[in-house]
Symmetry: D2
Subunit: 386 residues, 4 copies
């Protein structure tokens, strides 16, 4: 038995199997992957890592398992899934995700299969069960990857703790206590409010933290830089889960020209400025924005760059992340059977309508250019699909 | 200069004038008025008082005043109003309010005028300005008594701290920072989310704390008891703001019969049980419920008591507090001028629709009777006005 | 299974037996006994009660029991002892203790034996085992009443939480984790620091909270008042554990003359002032001070009152509580066997030397008199035994 | 005016001059220097940086300045000094310090003079005043670099927050409130306890965090690695303040042989194990240990390596950091004038005696070797100077 002191949840107990998993280079690497990518440039405390988050999610998984009165093997499966669920994340977590084709869940599956992790796991588990659960499938899938999963519970609390933004303070005790296990995780009626509160917490964290305007600028700068770095061959996008944050930053510093300039701007916080913004709740069909292909985005950037005489790569056309608050498929047990959370909660269904309130299409350029183009009619260049 | 150590806000500075006000019996009495009435019987930590809340509101008033760049006199006026805003509260705060005819705001005005408080105040202020502001009037009224006032900011934080229910943890910094002063308090666009979050916090605190089912039972038991106590003449309802929690409890203990029995049940937590509940979001016109007059309620109680052979006073028909989430009149400054918060916030307007989600009409009886009447058709007795 | 939400430790699980015990008037009364007596007049948040502290201590008892790998019966015994350990406290906790002859531990034993508590307990336990353990005897005695007991762990944390004084924030996890059970509780070498830190926390809380100068003044005023109240027969000191804080305050208000005046001064915070103070670390034999008998103290008060023409009862000669930091008998397991904590810890043994640093003999009089006697030679009247 | 949201102190206001300083590459670099070096390998939350600490210290400096009633220029000087006080830190903060000859204070002075920082500063200040104050000289020196400075206040709180070790929770409010300015910072008598508590907090943080055994192993492994890296010329020790944590880690990874192996062990947490430990409080003259020169240490390592057939560089002889708890020169104002804190505080002077309690001389080797050498007589090789 070992203990890890977590700044959020206190002293957490770790058994022998878990120690073995934690001691692999695959899990140790997560100590060097920041949970919130470049958010530390906006909230200076946001230096926390996927490692502590994974340990925290593991702890919440066993608390939930205890409450569901699972047997020891089931609880251990849950713990291990929570521990491993983010193992495939690339450097800077979600930031690098936009640049490659494969999701971090797929990469996690691949990583587990190919590495010593599967050897350690196969002594006690069917590795496919683990992978299935991590991908949100099966009876326990919703616990690891669902709307009210232990991943979210931990990251909302943790991101609040390290950014100092209070929105993510949720009532984990009430939530866990009101979950039941049928063929999937179901919420008791008494837990609806705790669930509403958690979904709202996430909603509020979007504009304040996850899609903070400055963070979006940095992320889009970094993605441009990373895409070019891939082209040099210095970093292999297929094996992105073998790199850590340091590799990418110093890898980019070692290059010349555009890549070096972009990483130096990030290092020194010489950030691009927003010169155009189109609020999605002010246009007719906001959904259409997300049909913009990357080719079209690149084309628009090129046209604008040329007409504005800004060097290629120095004008960024940024489509926001799709605000996915429209699911709410969690089942709630009521007298008459089970209904979807989105159906019985006025608050939760309001989130669907509110989801474009804080999203906008943006164009960023370096500070030097920003004053020069302030009068420009950017809107003429932006063609939103029908 | 003196300091008071507040468990929430830290060391708070108090000037000479404020010390004089605090040192009056009128303000000292607030140390013996629990902020949340009998909620300590549900959340054992909820023993906090109107006194510390008033000091906390005073502190937030000056933080808001600083941010609005008010001059020293204006800030002092705000501080004093926040300090005095609850001085007229009767024992157990809002619980005693339902039994008398006058609101605590009216009583506060009366108390200030009649006591040494007005002598102390009149050295520096026009007492009528103070009273006007406390009652939500004038340029500063919304700061002391409005939808986003310092009263609410403090009590949400404080009630969360002492109950252990996290819902009330709000982002006071962001809220205060985004307020402007026109002819009244106006919110900057950037503060909308902090305001949404605060209004939701209050919404969530209702069923969890303020209108928790057990608290409602105790409150309705206590109100019955207090009404009878008034009849004995032992406590004078007109001067209710001269009594503290202790006076009422021990005053009731000193009586015989019903009054003594009821207070003894509260003391020993032998609470009535709910034998009937009608959810307001399941009936057609929930608004109508609040047209029930106290005569009609008493008549229904009488009929039910007789038919069920329960002694008078031992069956309680409890109409919930009106869930007032339909205002949202706070003004938000946008490019085109000013709009109401309820108009631009999907989330806030959803609160209006959700306001009856947690409210229900209830009937309570002592535990001994509860099993005997479980099959009874209570609904036949309940006549909701059109 | 029930849950109680504690503001410090979160949702705490309570089993059926414990619910029965909690639902007795004897334990419910603790909801109306403030943990820190009149400290709320100094730190306005300090309204917490013996009830929540008892629940908190019960929780810590089972955490410690888990760590010591006790069986379920042993853990339940510990939990019950922690729950009941303060049941015999009189109103305002330790403040009333100075006025009677019997300690709260003795009263707790008596109360358990005489009340329905022993009936409930005897279904599962030998009541004498419970009483023995509560009094610090037997294998588990040190867990409930010892130098590093769960009582202290809870009250240090709790008193810090509600006063806002950070000194009591201790590392409960590390402490509990480093305790072993031999024939008594023993500390592992690795836990020495956590123990040092806890003993220091208590040391620091003395002058800041427990023996804060203003609190001492109020306590000594209250004790004078209570002593007179006993004489009237309105309150029976033998059955002090049947009264709550409210009984005593309103009982005193119902009297005339001195008693009424004193309680009114406490209610309105018109406190006596210190006119003389003798620091114990500045005299030769501080231990001797504690040999002063109550007769001698009363005699001194009388002489001073007469010579200063202050009415009887309005001059208080206050000997501080004995600062008991000289025990440190906790055993620590080291390679060579076991040694006393006080022997291997330089820090802990320093506490013995430092124990008189903050203690002083004081004389208090009403504010009106204080200026008149400022030049008086009080020291001539104080005779410290050899 | 700008705001930075600090996870500890909340929204912190930053003026135009400070924004200019913060926006330099010199201060931005601090975002990439971990405050506690490799401690994140022991406490996974300890990823916080010199950047947020510098901002936090700046905030505390102005709170102290307010309390001392300094004028605006003096407060600004204090703020700027606190902001810059760590600018010269090399990668991994103090860990790299042991490898070079110059202290971080000297490097900070050099960096300020040589960089654009001095240009920005010289518009408002005499740069030499800034440097003097940062080095603890002059009237304000003790505020920035003294026994009770804002640097320590911030790091104790911050390190507690991020490690989850509660020892560092100190009463900053009481401390700041009790400081006075004479010709230097002086403590009021009433602040002695807050000062004791802070010095003890630091004492307790040593074995738990700053000199945690695992941290010491990692640090000594890293220092060996860094020394070799310097020899390759890839990193220039003279300009160490131009590198960040990433440069060093990835710089080492890019090497071959010993350097690559050592950094890979740190990355994967394959740490050396302790095979010998000599507690300093068990030897006669612990002070002498610190006279061991680096030549002697290297010589001992060499002898041991040869005799144990362990490759050069894979046996580490680690002398602990000198436990500097023997100063306590802070002045306290008492009736009779001023005395040293160490003279009037029993607790503080006990720290001097206790300072070797947790220190030990250690020898570490890779895990594979550790079992083979467990019987070896290491003590014969260790020669402590007289």
């Amino acid at each position: 038995m070992k203990f890890i002191r977590d700044s959020l949840h206190g002293n957490l107990q770790i058994n022998e199997l878990e120690v073995k998993l934690i001691d692999t280079p695959q899990i140790q690497r997560l100590r060097r992957i920041k949970q919130l990518g470049f958010t530390y440039l906006v909230y200076p405390g946001a230096n926390h890592t996927r490692f502590e988050h994974s340990i925290g999610a593991m702890y919440l998984a066993s608390r939930l398992g205890n409450n569901l009165q699972l047997d020891d093997d089931e609880k251990e499966l849950l713990r291990v899934c929570a521990l491993l669920h983010d193992a495939g994340h690339g450097p800077f977590s979600h930031v690098s995700e936009g640049v490659r084709d494969t999701s971090h869940e797929e990469l996690t599956s691949k990583l587990i299969k190919e590495s010593q992790l599967s050897d350690i796991l196969s002594e006690n588990f069917n590795v496919n069960d683990i992978i299935k659960t991590i991908n949100g499938k099966g009876v326990f899938g919703q616990i690891i990857s669902g709307e009210l999963d232990v991943d979210r519970m931990d990251y909302l609390l943790r991101d609040s703790y390290y950014t100092g933004v209070a929105y993510g303070v949720i009532d984990v005790e009430r939530l866990i206590y009101n979950m039941e296990l049928d063929d999937t995780i179901t919420l008791r009626r008494k837990g609806v409010q705790a669930a509403e509160s958690m979904l709202l917490a996430r909603y509020f964290m979007y504009p304040s933290v996850y899609q903070h305007h400055t963070t979006r600028i940095i992320n889009s700068m970094f993605r441009k830089c990373l895409r070019e770095l891939f082209k040099t061959g210095a970093v292999d996008p297929v094996n992105i889960y073998q790199y850590d944050d340091l590799d990418i930053i110093t890898g980019a510093r070692a290059q010349d020209g555009y890549i070096k300039d972009m990483i130096s701007r990030i290092d020194n916080r010489e950030l691009f400025k927003t010169v155009f913004s189109l609020k999605l709740d002010e246009i007719e069909n906001p959904e259409a924005v997300f049909k913009l292909s990357s080719q079209e985005i690149i084309k628009t950037e090129k046209e604008l760059s040329e007409d504005l005489k800004i060097p290629q790569g120095y004008l960024i056309f940024d489509v926001p992340e799709y605000p996915s608050f429209d699911e709410m498929k969690t089942m709630v047990s009521v007298n008459s059977g089970r209904v979807k959370l989105g159906e019985i909660s006025t608050i939760v269904s309001a989130l669907k309508d509110a989801r474009f309130n804080h999203a906008d299409l943006c164009i960023y350029v370096p500070k030097d250019y920003s004053s020069k183009v302030s009068e420009f009619s950017f809107e003429d260049y932006i063609k939103i699909p029908d």
